[in-house]
Structures are given as C-alpha cells and as structure tokens.
Symmetry: C3
Subunit: 298 residues, 3 copies
C-alpha cells in the first residue's frame, strides 16, 4: 500500500500557493492526494481574524485542487486543539474580514465552503475545542477524538450569547434535538467517550492510536478516485447540510447579546480569570465559566 | 457557586399563580430561575384529563415567566414516572378538554407548547414512562434516566392503536428510522442503558447519581442569561421540531382504531389484568401486554 | 403466548404464489402473520439480476397480503449475508429488468417498495453485507446484527464509483452526516459493535442469541393488529423516507463512473483477485479492495 509522498516543493500545480508562509498553522502536503494542516498558534490555539483569513485562503486552494482528496486538521498543542475565538480587543479586525464568496460573513463562509469542498476533511482532535473551535470541527466531514484527551463544547450560552458559527444547525442534524440542546444550553465540556456516545464525533480513539488510525484513513482516501469521492459526498451534502440562510440570523443575535453591558462585564471578568492564556480557567472552561457569572442573577 | 433559593412564597411576579393547589403534581419554585415539578398521582402516576388540564395551566405560567430558565419534571413514585394515559372510563372528560392555543387538541397542545417554551425542560426519569408518559418526556428538551430503574416505551401498537401524542414525529427525528420503528412497532419496554444507546434519552445515569446530576445542571442553567437560552433554543426548534400539522392526523387514526370492537375487548381484558393499578401487568407492561391479545390472530 | 405455525401448504389466501420455486432464497411462511426469507445463493450470496427479479415478485406478494405483519430476511450462509451486486459480465441482464411500479429502475424500485410496505421487515444479519447487500438492509425497517460475525459496508467509492441504491439518502438520515460520510467515503467494513454504535443497525446481538431474539420479535409482531402496524409505520415513513426523486441521480453517476477505463481495469483486477467467489478478497473486502487500486494514483 505505497503512496507518493511529495515535499512542499513538489505538490502539484500550485506549489507556490501551498508553500507560502502561514502564521497560525503549518501545511504539509504529504502527497498529491493528502494534505495535513497543523494548528500552531501559541499559547492555546485561539482563533483570531488572522486565523480566519488564513483558513479562507486555504479553503480556496482546497476547492480548486483536483489532485487533492483528503485534508487532515490536527494541532501542535496536545492540550488545545482550537481554544475558541479571540477578538483580541479589536472587533474591527473581525468585521474587516468582510463577506466571503457565499455571501456570508467570513467565519461562516469558511465553514460552509469547507463543508462543501470536494474533498474529505478530517478533524483529528486532541485537546480542547470550544466555541468557534467546536464549530470548526462540526464543519469538517469526519471527526476522530482522543479518548483520553478531548474536551468539546459550545460555551456561548454560559456567557450570555448565541453561538454564531452554525452549531444549532449542525449539532441538531448530527446528534438530535435532545443532545444538541444539552450541548448548547448547558454549555459544558464533553469528554471523548461522551462525545462519541452523543455522535458529536465519529469515534473516540485511544490516544496512542489516534494518529495512526487517522493516518491510515488519510493514506487510503488519498489513493481513491477524486470524482467518486466528490460526487458521493455531494449527495450526502444535499440531505445533511443546512441552507446558507439558516446560518445568518444567529449572527445578529450574537452581536446584539454580546453588546449588552452585563455580557461585556462578564467578558472582562473572564479576561481577569485568564481567558486566552494557558490558565486553569481555559483548561476547565466548561466548569469554570460559572465563576464569571454575576454573583446573583439577575 | 451560590444560588438564590426562594421558597414558594417568594417566587417572582406571580406567586399566587404558581403556589395554587395542584392535584397531580407538586410545584417547588426553588429559585427565580428554577422550578421543579414532581408528579404525584397515586398509585402509578397515570395521566388523566385532570393531569392534562393542570399541565396546560402550568405551561401557560412557564411561557409567561421571563425569570424562569429551567423546569425539572420528576416523580414522587420511584417505580412509575408517568404510567400512561387513563381515560377513566369517561372519554368525554378528555374530549371536554377541547382545543388549546395552538389549535390542536389539549394533549398535543400541551406538548407542543412545552417544547417551544423559552426555558429548558428536563425530564429526570426514574420508573416507568409508557404511551403518553413517553410522549411527555419526548416533548421535554433534555431527558436523563436512571440507569437501573427506567422502562420507556410506546405500547400503543401492541393494543391495536396508533400513538396520538406525536412519537412518530419526535422519535423519528431523535433516534432515526430504524430505532423509531422498533420502539413504535415492537412496542416493548426499553431499559435505561438501551434508551441511552438508542438516543431515546440524553444519558442513563447511575440511580444514586441521577438526582445530583440533574440538580447541578438545573442550578447552573438557573444562573444563565434567559435571552441567550431562549434564542439559542429557538434556532434548534427551527431545525428539529415537527410542524403542528404533522401531529394532527394520527389523532384520528387513534380514535378510529380504538373504537373497534376487538380493541375495546382487549382494553377490557387489560383492565381485568390490572391496568391502571400497581399490578404485575403495569410493572411489566411491555412484555405482558401480549396476555391481552386474542388467543389467535385474527 | 401461542402462535399458529403453518407450513407452506397452508399459508393463507395465495399459497400457490408464495410456495412457488425461488432460486436465490427460500420462503417459509411460518404463520399467517409471519414469513421468513432465507437468502441462499452459493457461494457467497451475491445479488444478481435474478435476485432482483425474485425480490420484486416477493415484494409484490408482501404488498398485497393483508394477513402478513412481519418478514424476516436471514441467510443460509453464516459468512455472507448478501455479498454485493454481481453483474455476471452481462450488464444487459440488469438493464433488462427495466422500470418498476415506482418509475425507478428495478433495484431502487424493490428497495423503495419494501421500505413502504405495510409490514415490518427485519434484517437478521450474520456475515458480510456490502454494497447492494448493505443497501438492502438499509431499506429494511429493523436491522439486528450478529455481534461477532457481521461486516457491513459501502465499498463503492473504493472502486471509483458512486453507490446507486440509495445509501447516501438512507445512511445520512440514519446515522448523521459525519458517520455517513465515513461509511461511504472511507468505504471500509464496520463490525457489529461499531455498526451499533453508529446506528447503522438497531442492535448488535450476541451471535448465539441473535436468532432467538429476532424470532421472539417476529412472533410478537405476527400477533399484533395489522392496521395499527401499517398506519403507525406510514407516519414514520413521512418523516424519515427520502423522496423517490432523491434516489435517481446517483444511478447516472454510477453508470458514468463505472464506464471509465480505469474503473473497468480495476474491476478486472478484482475478478482476478477472487471477486464473487468465497475468497480471502471477499472475506476482507473492505481492507483488501486497496489491492485492486492502481499502484500509484493518479
């Protein structure tokens, strides 16, 4: 079962594009058919406007590369896969990302295009993926998670806002109403085994076998016929993907609710507690977000 | 993680409504944000016209209380959560309940309005919930079941009728076609672990941890922002709830099939075997309903 | 809990039809309400044009028999349930099957009509079911699989084609997008426990209990009221079945992709490796199909 492994200097029609400098992840085009993206944005792999801009460019390359069959997304940090979104105290930077080719704002645009791309995207999850990090893995086609070292969640409702990157649409279809409502409203972390039982991930795999299993699947997919993959996936898309219009309204709710004084005050408390740093807060965010709530509500 | 716990005399804007006398359940408004309803209708928590009328009133209070975030429904009887519907040999009492605000007859009206209410409803299930009892938990947002002491099922097809409170619509979306057809057509009981594997409940929790886990979730939700909960849930509703029109036709099938002489005769045999009492029949209804079948069919 | 067990000579209104000679399966009408079909087409239960023609006739009998409540499909070969489709080097034989009553070509017509038939169809799976064999069990209402001796899969993408018998539509609704994409695109075998975890089957049952459990369910269903089964199932159909029009386009993709020289060459290699015989290739087809891939793709 041999494969052709090419370095970045030998990666098909557009080597100059794929081998450019990326700042929040590295790109390893392992063969014509197989590319691996490794998130690497210390200290905890937050997603910022820069990450979104780079992912938008990457997805553009993926969409147009008919040699490519499979893209694996993993993390250089075993404790954090993608922490969550960080606005870097500059909402303007996110707003400046503008509208993507789908007509939606940048983050949703990236996720929609990744989900519809004619390749197989695989999230190999080790560490924490919350908020936008969870939204990203939900937009991937397959999700494999470390049995021992995974925490997944949508924490937004716990900080008084509505998730804006599609998890109501995607989780509802993936795990059913009851479990989607629990994940979204209780807003706590799920570990690997529970994520598997709920259907949030395809499988929880023993940590020491995760990389090997994902590699075997990717190498296998890289050898398959591109057209068979693309067309078969497109029929699953028809049945399972939300319409673009379903994804738009929550963005307005997010903006409106986040702008309220109480939520701004809670955000300030989260920053004081260690948000966006490799802190105990970030390691146990599902549980510890309650420490940022007003003492007595309302 | 402190919370404000208020007695019934201190429960927000409408204490006089919440603290009225209820006959088939008790109401404990534990805090502004959190209310607990405990079914208590001896001997086996059957649902009657009275239960439906009281639940309709309760749901009306829930819909209008913007302080409230979470309602937990549990049972005072560890063996029976909600046995099933009991027409009390008086179909007129149920018919007299009339049409609710949704335009549907009372039972479906209550379930639809509960599912759409801007709060989180949690069924903490210990004991048996069959027929309308199962329909009730399916209309709740989250379902947690005792691992050791749960039996769930839709027994209607086993007595020759069509379920009338929406389980074809709700189970199909929750557990998928194959498992929904098994639950509905084989019409047998599922225990806690199987209910979890099928996705019928969010989770089966060890009996001695069930109350504590549900309490922790409810206390957490009570502190969250009401608007974030309500809006996020409303987007899940859009994707996961059946239309009202999908729920209407089976009610006519139920009436037509139940009115047949063979089904009336089977109902009489069930009553002779101990239906609506704390009998061996009721404890093992999924298995023992076959004892009410004609000796040889047809 | 007695049942009436009738031999084939005493099987209701149309014994002459049911007891005709079948070549790829045997028919055992165990009672008025219960019929068992046992696939028996040595050496590995491939599906051919003859199988489809006989299944079409059988489904016609099922649709019109108002005494019948349940049909169990099992296999005489413990290693192979239904291997996959075998065109027998004669595509014309399949084409000559023509269009069925639904307006779709024969294989999809059989599957659609079986799924909509007013009875409960049960796949009792022991051995391998891939490609069209998997498509058949997906069209059954309930699926029970041997815990130890089951391999299920859609191998088509691995040989460069698009599955043509509806698994994109049916798996997407049954197991959700992520797991459907894995099954369809990775195109590997799933064993019984994984098939249960994914929801591909209702349950994996210990091999020595499988026959007994299915028998108990069938005997139970045979005694239930036909009308209650048929109407309740029809409401689940409304929510869970794909439209006929969703099933048509992939058939064209299948034909187009299979006609390409590279896929014809791969098919020839598969035949050289032992396709359609009781070979090591067929026993481990999910893994070994890669041996038929071009050495280096593309």
């Amino acid at each position: 079962m041999s494969t052709t492994v090419n370095g970045p200097s030998n990666n098909g029609a557009r080597p100059q594009s794929w081998s450019q400098s990326w700042t929040h992840f590295s790109v390893d085009r392992r063969s014509l058919g197989y590319c691996r993206i490794t998130f690497d944005h210390p200290p905890i792999n937050t997603i910022t406007a820069t990450t979104v801009a780079e992912l938008a460019e990457l997805v553009g390359l993926i969409e147009q590369d008919s040699d490519l069959n499979v893209v694996v997304f993993d993390s250089a940090n075993p404790d954090f896969y993608l922490a969550h979104y960080d606005i870097e105290n500059d909402p303007g930077a996110t707003a400046a990302l503008g509208i993507g080719p789908t007509g939606l704002s940048a983050w949703n645009d990236v996720l929609i295009r990744l989900a519809r791309a004619p390749i197989v995207s695989i999230a190999a999850i080790r560490g924490r993926a919350r908020g936008a990090g969870s939204e990203f893995v939900l937009a991937c086609d397959l999700r494999f998670a470390s049995h021992e070292h995974t925490l997944l969640g949508q924490w937004e409702v716990g900080i008084g806002i509505v998730p804006a990157g599609g998890p109501m649409a995607r989780l509802s279809r993936l795990v059913g109403r009851g479990r989607a409502l629990e994940i979204l409203l209780v807003a706590d972390d799920l570990d690997g085994p529970r994520a598997e039982r709920y259907g949030y991930v395809n499988r929880a795999v023993a940590d020491d076998r995760l990389d090997g299993e994902v590699e075997a699947i990717a190498v296998r997919l890289a050898r398959f016929d591109h057209e068979a993959i693309a067309r078969t996936k497109s029929y699953v898309d028809l049945t399972t993907l939300p319409s673009n219009s379903e994804l738009t309204p929550p963005v307005n709710d997010f903006r409106e609710l986040f702008g309220r004084p109480a939520q701004q005050a809670q955000w300030t408390r989260l920053q004081q507690l260690g948000l966006n740093t490799d802190s105990d807060l970030e390691r146990s965010l599902g549980q510890r977000l309650v420490d940022s709530l007003p003492d007595q509500y309302p």
